[in-house]
Each structure stands twice: as structure tokens, then as C-alpha cells.
């Protein structure tokens, strides 16, 4: 029982980080209908920015928001200079539908190469601001530490913030309207191109946070080839698909579900099957519930 609760706690923490990555992917999908592989590169680059700021200032609480801003700026930059010209052309011929997806894969490769060029063999260090030692409950150490609580807290605050922005503000209304019906939105006076760039920016900030949290929750360091970031991108995608790719709430549910299932498999089955299981879940969801576990067939959620 004790072991099971610990497994759940580990799963929820990891899953909350996958949720953030899934949100980054869902936001881009909703605003421009692009499957954004570059999200992994944006998270990675922002984490390096965070590591540099942490090295200079010594404060995690300065490094995190700066990394988020860097992620937002980088993501908006990629949308504005690479995706927007492509999207304005795509759709005229069938093969051009694939251009944006291939472009994001290419951008991911370029970003990794650039990071390698800039940082070389140097590693970025994000040392956890809080203790990773588990709290003691009835004499035993549980898998909930001040650090894990902080991770959950940051994710929760961001989720609440995003929900408020999307449901309560004019910006949120513009973001939702532009993703559901770009033409009606333009006729209503919404500057859809600008709103799309903002959607990418928010996605970049979410991805940057996921990258930083993934690093402090893991080894505490990051390299341009970090396997942890490939995992983060893949798990983020799987979580987004589980949640039906359209919905922010779906992304959160997808991330937590995936995190918990993978933690259980890691604990009771074996580490070598974790990656395999993630893909198995992805394929099962695509076969059985192509609109996600909370999705309605043909329906779209705000």
C-alpha cells in the first residue's frame, strides 16, 4: 500500500510535467493546426537559458520566469518567420499539407545542432531550489518532497492561470474563437495572425516550464542531446493525443494518466518496458478512442 501510494505520487509529479508539454503541443495545434515537433527544441533551448540565468543570479525564481519568456519569444519567432509564410502557402497542393510538420522537425534538428555548437560539451545545471528529501510519514520517507510539492504547485498555478486567461479574458476569447473559426473571427475584427503568434508564445512558455521542471525532477542537468527531453517531447505528444489533442483539460488528464501508468509499470513491471508502454498506450488510444479519452466524436471543446 505504502509502495503503491509512493508510485502514485511519483506518477502524478512526472505526469504533471507531461501535462505542461502536452499543453504546449495542444496550444500550437489549436492555433495553427500544426503538429509542433519544435516544441522539444524550444523547451531544451529555454532550459539552457534558465541554466545560464541560474548560474549568473543564483536564483531559481529569476531563472524560471526568464526561461519562460525566452521560450515564448523563441516560439513566437519560429511561428512568425518560418511557419506563417509556409502556412499561407500550404493547402494549395496536397503535398504541401505536410510542409509545416516537416518544417517543425527540421527546426528541432537545427535547434539541437545550434545548442550543441553554442554549448558544446558543457552541461546546463538547474539545481533544485528545494530539498529532494521525502517527507517522513510514520517513520518512513515518502515519495513527496518539498521539491515535488513545488513542481506540483508551479504546474497547478500555471493551469489555473491558463484557464483564467482562456475563459475570462478577451485574449482568451480571441484565442478560442481564432482556433475554432478563423474566418468568422477575422470578419469579427480579430487579428487572427497576431493571435496565432500569441498562441505559439504561450505554448513556448509552457514548454519552457516543462523543460525546467523535467530537469529539476530528474538529473538536474541538461545537455543538447539530453534523452530526458526526447522523452518529454514523446510523452507530451502521447498525453496530448490521450486528451484528444484539442483540449487543455484533456492534455492535463492525458499527462496525469500517462504519468501514473508509466510509474506503475516502472515500479511493478520493469524500466525497459516504459517506452514501449507509452507507444502501446498511444496506439491503443488512436485505435479505440481516436478523439481522446474525454473527446466526443466530431465535437470540439472550449
Amino acid at each position: 500500500m505504502f509502495e503503491f501510494v509512493n508510485t502514485l505520487l511519483i506518477g502524478i509529479t512526472a505526469g504533471s510535467i507531461y501535462s505542461l508539454m502536452a499543453i504546449a503541443i495542444v496550444l500550437v495545434w489549436r492555433s495553427t493546426r500544426v503538429v509542433n515537433f519544435a516544441a522539444g527544441g524550444i523547451a531544451l533551448a529555454s532550459t539552457f537559458v534558465g541554466a545560464t540565468i541560474l548560474e549568473t543570479t543564483g536564483s531559481f525564481w529569476i531563472a524560471l520566469p526568464v526561461a519562460m519568456l525566452a521560450g515564448a519569444a523563441l516560439s513566437a519567432f519560429i511561428e512568425y518567420f518560418f511557419l506563417r509564410p509556409l502556412l499561407h502557402r500550404s493547402g494549395e497542393r496536397t503535398q504541401e499539407i505536410f510542409l509545416p510538420i516537416i518544417a517543425t522537425l527540421g527546426i528541432l534538428g537545427v535547434m539541437k545542432a545550434l545548442l550543441h555548437f553554442i554549448y558544446g560539451e558543457k552541461i546546463g545545471v538547474i539545481s533544485p531550489p528545494l530539498s529532494d528529501k521525502g517527507f517522513i510519514v510514520s517513520g518512513e520517507s515518502i515519495a513527496l518532497s518539498p521539491l515535488r510539492l513545488m513542481i506540483l504547485g508551479i504546474v497547478l498555478v500555471l493551469m489555473i492561470g491558463l484557464t483564467l486567461i482562456f475563459q475570462r479574458t478577451n485574449l482568451g476569447l480571441s484565442l478560442r474563437a481564432a482556433s475554432f473559426a478563423p474566418e468568422i473571427s477575422r470578419l469579427s475584427g480579430i487579428r487572427v495572425d497576431l493571435i496565432r503568434t500569441l498562441g505559439w508564445a504561450i505554448s513556448g512558455a509552457a514548454g519552457a516550464t516543462a523543460g525546467i521542471l523535467q530537469t529539476v525532477n530528474g538529473s538536474g542537468s541538461v545537455t543538447p542531446e539530453a534523452f530526458e527531453f526526447s522523452l518529454l517531447l514523446v510523452f507530451g505528444f502521447v498525453a496530448a493525443v490521450i486528451g484528444g489533442i484539442e483540449s487543455l483539460i484533456g492534455a492535463v488528464i492525458g499527462g496525469l494518466t500517462l504519468g501514473i501508468i508509466l510509474a506503475i509499470i516502472l515500479m511493478y513491471v520493469g524500466g525497459s518496458l516504459v517506452f514501449f508502454s507509452a507507444f502501446l498506450i498511444l496506439i491503443l488510444v488512436l485505435l479505440l478512442r481516436p478523439h481522446g479519452i474525454i473527446g466526443v466524436k466530431g465535437g470540439r471543446r472550449a
Binding site: N170, R176, I184, S185, L187, S188, G189, I190, R301, A302
Partner: protein, 235 residues
């Protein structure tokens, strides 16, 4: 006033409008009628900036409206309600309305516009917090027009508001359009397949056929024109 001169629009290799010229005075309700594929929707989409013109000109007052984006034309008082109950089903009625006035800096005036729309269509007022996909066809059309009114337009481009509605509802919608035009001093370009209904409420009528103007004149005269009656009114 709206002045359209020799407007030519191409869809790829196909010419949709062959040099169309139309003049509408301020405060007039003009009905554009014609069969499917006559170029009616293309005409509206070009005026609102959704389609590109190949040649010709179009001005609204002093404003050259060709080659502008729809989101900027809205800011100049030109509002287009596109074909087929153009509302966003996933948003609530209130959100659909608010969307039309998000660009307006003066929030007090925007709130005033909302009150006016709700007064005009009380059924929308009762359903403000419902999702738009819970509305009937007629209510959706009211919502689409209501959203357009939220931008305080002077020139209203309406594409087939009667599409898919029951005869009684069509009559209501047409009546609202007539009332709005008069009460708000709007200039309206109304595109319709329902030629009889449109010509009944319009001041002037324009018959489009295969991308060219086949006939035009006062709506009453067109209603009595034997050729128009035979071709478009069905008797």
C-alpha cells in the same frame, strides 16, 4: 455610398465575376439575387477582403476597400455576415456577441451595443450563457446578425440569411433586416437565393447571372419585370 466599378474576380483559372458595377446610396437596402454559382458570394467575399480582386475598384465613401483585410475593414464600419448561420457553435451566445466588439477601444459603447442587440433580439438575451450550438437555425441567424451589429457597422454585407430556415422564420429575419436598415440608417448589400423575399424588403435589386449583371433597378420594378419573374421568381 458603395461604388463598385468593373469588378473582376478569378478563382484560379475560373473567372467568377466579369466586370461587375454596382452603386448603392447610403441608407439603401440592395438585394443581389441570382442562381447558385452566379457569383453572389464571391462578390461579398471580395468586398469584405476575404477574396482578392483581379481588376476593378470598390470604394465605400472615401475608402478604397479592395486589397484590405477583413479585420481592418470591420474597423471602418464594413461588416460581413458570411453564408450559413455564421456563429461559432463552441462559444456561448454572449461570447459570440462579445467577439464582434473585442476590437472596440471604448468598452462602454461596446456594452451599449450589446444592450441594443439584446433589445432587438430578446430571444438571444434569454440564452446568453448557452452554447450557440443549442440555438435553433433562426436564432443562430439572429446571433450572426447580432454579432455583426456589435461592431457598429455602417455597411452590412449579408450572405443568404434565409439559408436552411423555415418559411415563417425567413419572414421574421427579413423583417428584422428591413427594420435594422431603417432604424440604424445602415446601408445593406443582401445576397439571396430567395429572390421574392429579398426583393420585397429591398430598395433596389441586382440580378447576377454567371458573373455578370443581367438586370438591375428598383426592387419593385424588378418584381414586375416579366423576364426576372420567369427566371428567378418562378412565376
Amino acid at each position: 455610398m458603395l461604388r463598385i466599378k468593373n469588378l473582376v474576380v478569378d478563382h484560379g483559372a475560373i473567372r467568377a465575376l466579369h466586370g461587375v458595377s454596382i452603386s448603392i446610396e447610403k441608407g439603401q437596402l440592395a438585394a443581389v439575387i441570382g442562381a447558385n454559382g452566379a457569383g453572389k458570394t464571391t462578390l461579398l467575399r471580395t468586398l469584405s477582403g476575404l477574396n482578392k480582386a483581379s481588376d476593378g475598384s470598390a470604394t465605400w465613401g472615401d475608402l478604397n476597400i479592395l486589397h484590405s483585410k477583413p479585420e481592418s475593414l470591420v474597423r471602418h464600419g464594413i461588416s460581413h455576415v458570411s453564408e450559413g448561420k455564421s456563429v461559432i457553435p463552441e462559444l456561448t451566445v454572449a461570447e459570440n456577441l462579445d467577439l464582434g466588439a473585442l476590437w472596440r477601444r471604448n468598452r462602454k459603447e461596446a456594452a451599449q451595443s450589446k444592450r441594443e442587440v439584446v433589445e432587438l433580439f430578446p430571444r438571444l438575451g434569454e440564452r446568453l450563457s448557452q452554447r450557440a450550438d443549442s440555438l435553433s437555425g433562426g436564432e443562430r441567424q439572429m446571433l450572426a446578425i447580432g454579432r455583426s451589429m456589435m461592431s457598429k457597422p455602417q455597411l452590412l454585407l449579408l450572405d443568404e440569411p434565409s439559408l436552411g430556415l423555415a418559411p415563417l422564420v425567413i419572414e421574421q429575419i427579413f423583417q428584422s433586416i428591413r427594420d435594422l436598415t431603417t432604424a440604424m440608417g445602415l446601408t445593406v448589400l443582401l445576397v439571396e437565393q430567395n429572390a421574392m423575399g429579398a426583393l420585397k424588403i429591398a430598395d433596389i435589386g441586382i440580378v447576377l447571372n454567371l458573373g455578370s449583371i443581367a438586370a438591375s433597378g428598383s426592387a419593385a420594378a424588378l418584381r414586375d419585370d416579366p423576364a426576372v419573374r420567369a427566371a428567378y421568381l418562378g412565376f
